[in-house]
C-alpha cells in the first residue's frame, strides 16, 4: 500500500460559516425556561397551602417562608450562624485538602509503600463519618473541632483517592521523556505529574466541597455546634415551621453558591485542559 499511497481528496476551505454570532433564540430560551420553572415552583408552593391541599402547619406558603427568611436575614445571629457554617466548611476542606495532597503525592510516588496501605484505606474509606459523632462529642463537645473532625474525615478520602487516580494516570511516555531530558524529580512532579493530576484533584475538591457542607451542617444539627444546622434544630424543636423552611432555603442557597464557586474555580484552574477548553469555545 505504501507504494501507491491513496489519493486523498484535498480538504476544501472551511465550508459555509457554522459559527453563530450573538445569542440565538435557543440561547435566550434556556434561561427563560429556567426562570419559568422557578416561578412555577414558587406558584405551586404558594397555591398548595393557600388552597388547603396541604395544611399550612406543614407547608407554609412560599411568601410566608421567604418573608420569614427576610426577617431572619436582618438579624446578626443569622449571619453569625452562616459564618460558623462556612468556617467549619472552609477549614475542614482546607485541612482535608492539605493532608490528602501531601499524602496522596507522597504515596503515589512510592508504589511499594502504598501497597501496604491499600487494605487499610479500603477499609477506612467507606466508614460513614457520622459514626464518629459520639467520639467527637466526647472529645470536643459542641466546639467547632467536632465539626472539623467529621468534615475532614469525609473529605480526606474523596480527595486522597482522586490524587492517587491522577498520579496513576501519568503517561509513562511523558514521564520517560522528561527523564531523558534530565529533569529532576521535583521538576518532573511539577511539569508532568502535577498537570496530569490536577483534573483529578479538582474533581476530588468539587465532590468534597459538597460533602463538607453536608457534614458541617450535620454536626451542627446533631451535636449542636454553632451554625445553621443548630438553628434549624432549635427552630424545629420550638415548632417554628416557617423558620425551618426558611433556614432550609438558606442552606440551599449556600449550597448553590458553593457549587457554583467550585465550578468556576475548576474551570479557571483547568483552563488549559481540553475538557474545559472544549466547553469554553463550543
Amino acid at each position: 500500500m505504501t507504494a501507491t499511497p491513496a489519493t486523498r481528496a484535498p480538504d476544501p476551505p472551511a465550508p459555509a460559516v457554522r459559527r453563530r454570532r450573538g445569542p440565538t433564540r435557543a440561547d435566550l430560551g434556556r434561561p427563560l425556561l429556567g426562570a419559568l420553572g422557578i416561578l412555577a415552583l414558587l406558584a405551586l408552593w404558594e397555591a398548595v397551602p393557600r388552597l388547603g391541599v396541604v395544611s399550612d402547619r406543614y407547608l407554609p406558603p412560599a411568601t410566608d417562608v421567604l418573608a420569614a427568611l427576610g426577617v431572619r436575614a436582618t438579624t446578626p445571629g443569622f449571619w453569625t450562624a452562616v459564618g460558623d457554617t462556612l468556617a467549619g466548611w472552609a477549614l475542614g476542606l482546607a485541612i482535608a485538602f492539605a493532608a490528602a495532597v501531601v499524602l496522596g503525592f507522597t504515596l503515589g510516588a512510592l508504589p511499594r509503600v502504598r501497597a501496604y496501605t491499600t487494605s487499610t484505606v479500603d477499609f477506612l474509606r467507606p466508614i460513614p463519618s457520622v459514626a464518629l459523632i459520639p467520639l467527637a462529642v466526647l472529645l470536643y463537645g459542641t466546639d467547632i473541632r467536632s465539626t472539623l473532625l467529621l468534615v475532614v474525615y469525609a473529605c480526606f478520602w474523596l480527595i486522597y483517592i482522586q490524587v492517587l487516580y491522577g498520579v496513576a494516570d501519568v503517561d509513562p511516555v511523558a514521564e520517560q521523556t522528561a527523564r531523558s531530558y534530565g529533569l529532576g524529580r521535583l521538576a518532573r512532579v511539577r511539569h508532568v505529574v502535577w498537570p496530569t493530576t490536577l483534573p483529578y484533584l479538582m474533581t476530588g475538591v468539587r465532590l468534597a466541597a459538597a460533602v463538607a457542607l453536608i457534614l458541617s451542617i450535620t454536626a451542627q444539627l446533631i451535636i449542636g455546634s454553632p451554625g445553621i444546622g443548630r438553628e434549624i434544630a432549635v427552630a424545629q424543636s420550638s415548632g417554628a415551621v416557617e423558620s425551618v423552611y426558611a433556614l432550609i432555603v438558606a442552606t440551599g442557597a449556600l449550597g448553590v453558591v458553593i457549587n457554583t464557586g467550585v465550578r468556576v474555580l475548576e474551570r479557571r484552574v483547568l483552563r488549559w485542559h481540553t475538557s474545559v477548553r472544549g466547553e469554553a469555545t463550543a
Binding site: M1, D11, P12, P15
Partner: protein, 288 residues
Amino acid sequence: MNHQGEHGTMLKVTGLQKVYRGGATEVEAVRDLTFDLAEGELVCLVGPSGCGKTTLLKCIAGLMPPTSGTVELAGRPVTAPPPDMAVVFQEYGRSLFAWMSVRANVELPLKEKKLGKARRAELVAESLEAVGLTAFADAYPWQLSGGMQQRVAIARAIAYEPQVLLMDEPFAAVDAQTRADLEDLIRAIWRRMGVTVLFVTHDIDEAVYLGERVLVLSSSPTVVQDDITVDLPAERDQLTTRQDERFTELRARVYAEIQQAKNSAKGAPENPADGAGTGAARASTAVH
C-alpha cells in the same frame, strides 16, 4: 453494469436539499442532489471532506428530514429509517453496543425484526462467517481491533438482510492494510448477496477500486458534479487492478474533478494547468 440498469431503480434521490438553521445563520449543506441506484448496483460517492456526504447519507437513511427533495427506496418515499436498509457508520467504536458481545450486537436487530430463534442463529452464524469472525462471537467489541470491529458492524448489516446497504466512510479510521482487506470483503459480499450498496468515501482510490459507478460531489453547497462509470473488470485485485491503466485514468479523472471542486469553492481564479481534467467544463457549469 450500466447505471440505468437492466433491473429496476432501487434508490432514487431527487432534488435533495438540506439547510441547517442555527438561530440567525443558515448553512446550506446540500444544495440539489439528484441521482439513482439500480437494483444490485455498487455505487461510490466521493467528494472533498466537509461536502455534506454525511448529511446526504443521513437524509437517505431517513435519520434526518431533507429541507426539500425526496428519497425513494424501491418506489416508496423514505421519511423514517426504512426496515430494509442497513447503515455502516465510520465510527465503528461508537456504533457497536459496548455492553454486548459480538453475537448479541449482530442478533439485536434481528430480534427487533421478530425473527425466530433458529433463523436468528442461522443469520448470525452466516454473517459472522462471511466477515471471518466466527471465532470471536462471544468477545466484546472493545476486545477487538478497529478493523475487526468494523467487520462486526458489517456482519450486523448483512445479517439484517437489507435491500440497500449504506456505508458512510466505513474504512476511514482503519489502517491501510486492514482497509485493503475490508475493501475486498465488501466487493465479495456485494457480489455474493446482490445487495444494492451506496458507499460514501473521501478516498479517490477506494471509490474507483470498489465502485461500479462513482458519483463525484462538489464542495459545499453540494451538487453531483460528475457521474463516472467504472469499466473495470468485476474481478478486482488490490495489486493488479490498482496497476491497471484504466484504473489510473479513472483515478486521475476523479482527482481532477475534486481538485476543480476545491478551487471553485475557494472562489480563486482557475489555473488552467491545474484544472486539466475531462470533467472541468461540465463541472464549472454545475458549481456556479
